[in-house]
């Protein structure tokens, strides 16, 4: 069966040519285009110059969007960790027979339209939304509280989208822990909290870090939540790219911004892979 050397390549050729032609080559095009010029009439001129990058870093405006993207990504990682660890731990320790149903439920939002889930936060946080309506009805507020179109509402949308990724990653690595280790710790006189701190938490770190990387990368490239739930001050780098490419048709500059975003993610993924190894992420996605 292994004798035919060409066979795996024949099986792989459609997938490889798809990814090569539709991903690798186009991404190379972005890099090439980012050095091009845009003529005053809007035509693209082949060139090799760093003007687009210079424009990006010329003043505080564009770098501030880059910094905001990094800040929001870190905030979203932190919030997902805080919100996700305890449910994952609950799944791991719980012996309820509804465990598989509960796990399925937390995966359910994956299947439900992203744009609907995102826009529905307007129904909840808006001036006539769920929270304001009841706060006013019960006389706690007289005027609606402006909860939309700020960083908080953007983070709400982001977390609702990303939390299952984090919970899944942590749960998969918790499930891999040998429970007899915990019993050993307990029998040697550890309290429940000590056993958690000394055994469970350190052993769940791979899932924790894999989930964090995934959440960071997905937030850094996010377009929809800032667009729908954010105001002009919450624009992230993906929104900037969309505006330059589709809005003003400035392909060279849009390409340069894309390269900046890609560079940021490459640095982060490369660093992560060097110290922690990237394969854990794909492993837990497989668990879905």
């Amino acid at each position: 069966m292994q004798s035919k050397r060409w066979k795996p390549w024949a099986l792989l050729s459609p997938a490889l040519s798809a990814v090569f032609l539709l991903l690798v080559v186009p991404v190379c095009f972005i890099v090439v285009y980012s050095f091009w010029l845009r003529s005053p009439t809007g035509a693209d001129i082949a060139a090799f110059q760093f003007g687009n990058y210079a424009k990006f870093f010329a003043d505080y405006f564009y770098p501030s969007i880059l910094l905001r993207t990094i800040r929001v990504s870190l905030e979203s990682v932190a919030l997902c960790l805080v919100l996700g660890y305890i449910p994952a731990y609950f799944f791991y320790r719980s012996e309820t027979r509804f465990k598989s149903v509960l796990l399925l439920l937390i995966m359910l939002p994956f299947w439900i339209s992203f744009i609907i889930r995102t826009m529905s936060w307007i129904n909840i946080l808006g001036d006539t939304g769920l929270i304001n309506h009841y706060l006013i009805k019960f006389g706690i507020l007289s005027e609606p509280l402006g909860m939309l179109y700020n960083e908080g509402s953007v983070l709400m949308g982001l977390i609702q989208y990303l939390l299952p990724f984090m919970i899944l990653n942590i749960y998969v690595s918790l499930e891999g822990i040998d429970k007899s280790l915990l019993e050993a710790a307990r029998s040697m006189g550890c309290t429940e909290w000590q056993a958690f701190k000394e055994v469970t938490l350190p052993l769940s770190l791979p899932g924790l870090s894999a989930g964090s990387l995934l959440v960071f990368v997905l937030t850094a490239g996010t377009y929809l939540p800032p667009m729908i739930l954010g105001g002009p001050k919450n624009e992230m780098i993906a929104n900037l790219i969309f505006k330059r490419v589709i809005g003003t048709l400035d392909w060279p500059f849009g390409s340069a911004i894309s390269v900046v975003l890609l560079g940021l993610l490459l640095i982060i993924v490369w660093t992560y892979n060097r110290y922690l190894g990237i394969n854990q992420i794909f492993k837990s996605l497989q668990g879905e």
Partner: protein, 263 residues
């Protein structure tokens, strides 16, 4: 249940997280039955008014048709390509295997905005117009990694011995695949198709780059409608999408169980 101090706190916290996750979904469904002119609270009764309005909206129906065709084509192409590649990764050894596997999974980690710009730029350079075919090939790239993950996990669980037994009994490669591997792989194929269909049906960011006014999908249409304000019609459309996306996997699961019992 293990006796842990603070366990009830953990349980309570988990319930709160569930409430957070499901609040937007529940609110969409509830509000879609509100007969009021504006899609917001308070509820002023219960009616199907906005669903009826939705069913009469020609542009939304066209968007639905586009999304269904796009999702189905994506599911078929992506799963076929994904199964072939997974066979190569699971059943054969060849140089560069791990690197190639990572390369094929890479689109998961690349922001959709980048995929969107890159493919559009390439198409522009080839001087091709945006078309429905662009959406299909784009969605295949988006969904292929997920198909690979699912099918590889499944294929790894099928013992090679079954295939070898068939071959030692005289079956050729194609016969073995058709009679042994394929039936064992059916659940993975269904799961792969379902996954790629849902991702394609749902996709918004990259699709915004690739779609034209003529081939809008449902999410692109919703995105356009949101420019004005949240109309109750969007909530109704959301409810339809929620019901569809929950019903499809349930139905598929039921069918596959029934099929496997039948055979």
């Amino acid at each position: 249940m293990p006796k842990i101090s603070g366990w009830s706190l953990i349980r309570f916290y988990t319930i709160l997280v569930y409430a957070f996750m499901f609040a937007p979904i529940v609110v969409v469904v509830v509000l879609s039955f509100n007969p009021e002119q504006f899609g917001s609270f308070p509820m002023k009764g219960f009616s199907f008014r906005w669903f009826i309005k939705l069913a009469q909206n020609q542009t939304i129906l066209i968007a639905f048709k586009n999304s269904l065709i796009l999702g189905s084509l994506t599911a078929v192409v992506s799963t076929a390509v994904g199964i072939m590649a997974s066979m190569a990764f699971v059943r054969y050894n060849f140089p560069g295997k791990n690197t190639l596997n990572t390369l094929l999974l890479a689109p998961i980690m690349i922001p959709e905005v980048i995929l969107g710009v890159a493919l559009l730029l390439f198409i522009r350079w080839l001087q091709q117009p945006k078309s429905f075919a662009l959406l299909v090939i784009g969605h295949v790239v988006l969904t292929l990694p997920y198909v690979l993950l699912i099918v590889q996990a499944r294929l790894g669980g099928i013992k090679k011995e079954y295939e070898e037994a068939a071959q030692s009994l005289g079956a050729n490669g194609l016969q073995t695949f058709k009679e042994v591997t394929l039936p064992l792989l059916t659940p993975a194929i269904l799961a792969g198709m379902l996954f790629s269909f849902t991702i394609s049906f749902d996709d918004i960011t990259a699709t915004l780059f690739w779609a034209t006014a003529q081939n809008q999908t449902v999410p692109v249409k919703i995105f356009g409608m949101l420019r004005n304000s949240i109309s109750p019609e969007i909530n109704a459309l959301g409810t339809v999408m929620i019901v569809l996306t929950i019903a499809t996997p349930l139905l598929a699961g039921y069918l596959s169980r029934k099929l496997s019992r039948g055979s």
